[in-house]
């Protein structure tokens, strides 16, 4: 399980090469990006990012397969295509920093170091799941890993995430909260209420907007008057950046700037991660609102995992055998999780009435 349990400590990674511009190139121009502007990963970092992203990719593919087999019910939102966002951010974060996100949460949990078995067993509604089968795909938590969910109400996690930052501010414990939400949630009113208070009180929060271009079936252009999401905090004076969310190096570098800003007491920071989901909004989405070519082009030209793999091959001379070994290890973890989640029993019926209220401590 070493793959899921690692977290790179902030600060121990190599200094980025040169000063990264506040605005990295927008999508579609990444080919023409000046190489010198992209922060460099050393081989260990590339390998770490590769393994972590591959775990999410394979886990999600397996989840899709298990949904198809009827083992996973309800809604199931896959993170395939967006892996670089959460992995890059985790590489920039420190132990103790909190994460909170919406319903497309499997990748975030794996990135936090939560066990594949527990996540998959929650997807199948079994007792070994992180919420003992009572939360499902959209509602999982791990106090141990500082993962605060897993929220099914679009935008609610932004206020809650500001509340995590508030707690850090109240306790003055040096932690930073990372509140992830999508381009769709970015139009919810409470997001701006949270922006306002976070900046007013200088809360240590990084707002990570995962702009995957579609809020369910609605493209950003059809839903957003301002599609540059990094500017959504301008009226509150919150700095923001657009980031190539398909390049894990760019994500980590921007994440580092944002987290440093928040941790130093300067208040919140907004990162618009320009990313893309390959799969439908949920399993039952035929994705007719976009062309196959568009999806295919993203996969072929911008895939976050293939980018790392390419660099590992070209620059670090990692050979086929080493990739195969990594792939096999990841597959083993995912297959083990799937096997566990298939055979783990459903929750005991007594669980129906537990965890509704906590017993007050005896005064």
């Amino acid at each position: 399980m070493a793959i899921a349990a690692r977290k790179t400590k902030a600060g121990d990674s190599a200094k980025v090469a040169g000063k990264t511009p506040a605005k990295t190139a927008t999508r579609g121009k990444s080919e023409s990006k000046a190489i010198s502007n992209i922060p460099v990963f050393d081989k260990e970092e590339e390998l770490h990012a590769y393994r972590e992203m591959l775990l999410i990719r394979r886990f999600e593919e397996k989840a899709g397969q298990m949904y198809g087999m009827g083992l996973i019910g309800g809604f199931c939102h896959l993170y395939i295509g967006q892996e670089a966002v959460v992995i890059g951010m985790q590489m920039a974060s420190k132990e103790g920093d909190q994460i909170i996100t919406g319903y497309r949460d499997h990748g975030h949990m794996l990135a936090c170091g939560m066990e594949s078995r527990g996540v998959m067993a929650e997807l199948t509604g079994r007792r070994g799941g992180y919420s003992r089968g009572k939360g499902g795909s959209m509602h999982m938590f791990s106090r141990e890993k500082n993962f605060y969910g897993g929220h099914g109400i679009v935008g609610a996690q932004v206020s809650l995430g500001a509340g995590l930052g508030f707690a850090n501010w109240y306790r003055q414990d040096g932690r930073v909260s990372m509140a992830y939400f999508g381009d769709g949630a970015a139009n919810q009113g409470q997001v701006y209420e949270s922006f306002n208070m976070a900046q007013l009180w200088k809360l240590p929060v990084v707002f990570v907007i995962e702009n995957n271009r579609y809020a369910m079936g609605t493209s950003v252009n059809r839903a957003s008057a301002q599609t540059d999401f990094s500017r959504r905090g301008v009226s509150f004076g919150i700095p923001g950046e657009q980031v190539d969310g398909m390049d894990v190096r760019a994500v980590r570098a921007a994440g580092q700037r944002a987290i440093d800003h928040a941790r130093s007491g300067k208040g919140p920071y907004i990162l618009e991660m320009q990313t893309y989901r390959y799969r439908g909004h949920s399993m039952s989405d035929p994705a007719k609102y976009r062309s196959k070519d568009e999806v295919q082009r993203m996969r072929e030209e911008h895939d976050p995992i293939e980018q790392v793999r390419g660099r590992l091959t070209r620059e670090h001379k990692v050979g086929e055998d080493e990739f195969k070994a990594i792939d096999a290890k990841v597959r083993e973890i995912v297959n083990d999780a799937a096997e566990f989640a298939t055979h783990d029993p459903e929750p005991d019926v007594s669980e129906l009435f537990t965890d509704i209220l906590l017993e007050p401590a005896q005064a």
Partner: protein
């Protein structure tokens, strides 16, 4: 080992579909993520992706086949280097059942444990909670207003626990819109007494987020009418997260503020939300009447590890009651109080409804009817046993609230009595509620919209079959 491709379920409700088209032919190489076929469901045409690498060894269900059941093998992928023919021949085995043998089948309702939510388990002879022992023996009794009692409760708990803080509109520098937080900023400073912008949804969410980390926020709403902006965070985030996290994420938070009708502030500032919040598992709902209950219950609420809805009343803020001195005075949540003993009829109410209940009991006594008056104090969990114990004695009950009649708290009281003490009733349970209209502004109409002592007296007489 060859891998079966199974007919996938592509929505929460799909049981079968049409295999519209294969996009790969037998012998084609496929890798994870490749689209290999199209499936038509009742709603849409969906693409099927390969989840493994290998060679499409065999197609088992042809293009255009209708009504293919979910989980039927539709093709076989042979792994790298595997003999395609060998793979195909091994493909006939049945797909793994979604429910493995070791996993218990979904349990029939009959096997479910007795639901606490079903008929309340009230013993044949119910026992009333004895609130007499709540005042500590020998404690000095002082007279104070509900407003002062609430302020003292917060101040005492903030002194006791550094994780407790207050946030809300005008709670700090302004000293509270209704002066309930008077003096707290001066004593505890701006980090623990926090003025928020006018942004209920946002600060409720921030409070809940802070509570999930273990802090103990007291979130003041200037009125619970404004909490409607925040109700999603209260219900979906505060009340449900403990359950959805399998018991990991408690949410020790108090949402408090004035609730219900004040005076001449019309429909948008007069709503009583007791029934709304009492409908939600995962919340406790407290609605005190007296200053001592306000203090003792608020202190218990702040110490409680669960989300608490603490419903105050603007008219009651200025009323004075006897309160025991001392930091240790607590009133347990979930316990009713018999505030006036009687034998002829039980009158149950809570919050400001108690003014009508007590007024009616006084008037009834003059006519020779001894009413037993019960203050529920907590709406959820409801101490129905104390009510039942009284009804078993009086055999008659009138329930009183200011809220609307349909699906109201009094409706719930009536139902619970019927479930647990039907045989004890000599008359149907009666209720007196706010009228089924938005609160009007005009003084005469507002008066008519609210319950009054006369209505409670009339209802009590009716269940006693007295003219």
């Amino acid at each position: 080992m060859p891998i079966d491709i199974l007919m996938p379920a592509l929505s929460p409700t799909m049981e079968q579909g049409k295999l519209a088209k294969w996009l790969k032919a037998e012998g084609d190489r496929v890798k994870a993520g490749d689209i290999i076929a199209e499936i038509e469901t009742d709603k849409a045409t969906m693409e099927v992706e390969a989840v493994d690498e290998g060679v499409l060894a065999k197609i088992l269900v042809a293009d255009g086949t209708e009504n293919v059941a979910v989980n039927t093998p539709i093709g076989v992928i042979a792994a790298d280097g595997e003999d395609v023919n060998a793979a195909a021949s091994g493909a006939a085995k049945a797909p793994p059942a979604p429910q493995a043998a070791e996993a218990p089948a979904p349990v029939a309702p009959a096997e479910a444990p007795a639901a606490p939510a079903a008929a309340p388990s009230v013993p044949a002879q119910a026992k009333a909670y004895d609130a007499a022992s709540e005042f500590p023996a020998g404690a000095e009794i002082v007279t104070m207003t509900v407003r002062e009692a609430l302020r003292d409760a917060m101040a005492e708990e903030m002194r006791r626990d550094a994780d407790v803080f207050v946030m809300g509109e005008e709670v700090a520098e302004y000293q509270g819109a209704y002066k309930v937080t008077q003096g707290l900023l001066q004593e505890f400073g701006a980090r623990r007494v926090i003025d928020t912008p006018i942004t209920e949804h946002g600060f409720a969410g921030i409070g809940v987020g802070a509570a999930l980390t273990g802090l103990k926020p007291i979130v003041e709403f200037m009125t619970f009418n404004f909490a409607m902006q925040a109700i999603d965070q209260i219900i979906n985030s505060a009340a449900k997260t403990l359950y959805m996290s399998g018991g990991q994420m408690g949410c020790p938070i108090v949402f408090r503020g004035p609730n219900g009708a004040a005076a001449r502030v019309a429909a948008q500032h007069s709503h009583d939300y007791a029934a709304w919040y009492s409908n939600v598992p995962g919340l406790k709902v407290v609605m005190p009447y007296s200053a001592s209950d306000a203090k003792g219950l608020l202190k218990s609420a702040i110490r409680d590890p669960n989300p608490i809805i603490f419903l105050e009343n603007e008219i009651l803020y200025g009323r004075s009651f006897e309160v025991p001195k001392g930091d240790d005075f607590l009133v347990p949540i979930g316990k009713a109080k018999v505030v006036r003993p009687g034998t002829d009829v039980t009158i149950v109410s809570f919050g400001i409804g108690m003014t009508y209940a007590l007024g009616a009991a006084e008037a009834l006594a003059k006519e020779g009817i001894e009413a037993e008056v019960i203050d529920l104090r907590t709406i959820r969990p409801m101490d129905i046993e104390t009510v039942i114990a009284s009804v078993q004695k009086t055999n008659r009950c009138v329930a009183v609230e200011e809220g609307f009649p349909q699906s109201g708290v009094t409706a719930e009281i009536g139902m619970k009595i019927m479930e647990a003490a039907f045989d004890y009733l000599d008359a149907p349970v009666a209720r007196v509620t706010g009228k089924d209209v938005p609160m009007p502004y005009a003084a005469n109409l507002e008066k008519l919209a609210l319950p009054n002592v006369g209505e409670v007296v009339a209802a009590a007489k009716a269940v006693c079959y007295r003219a």
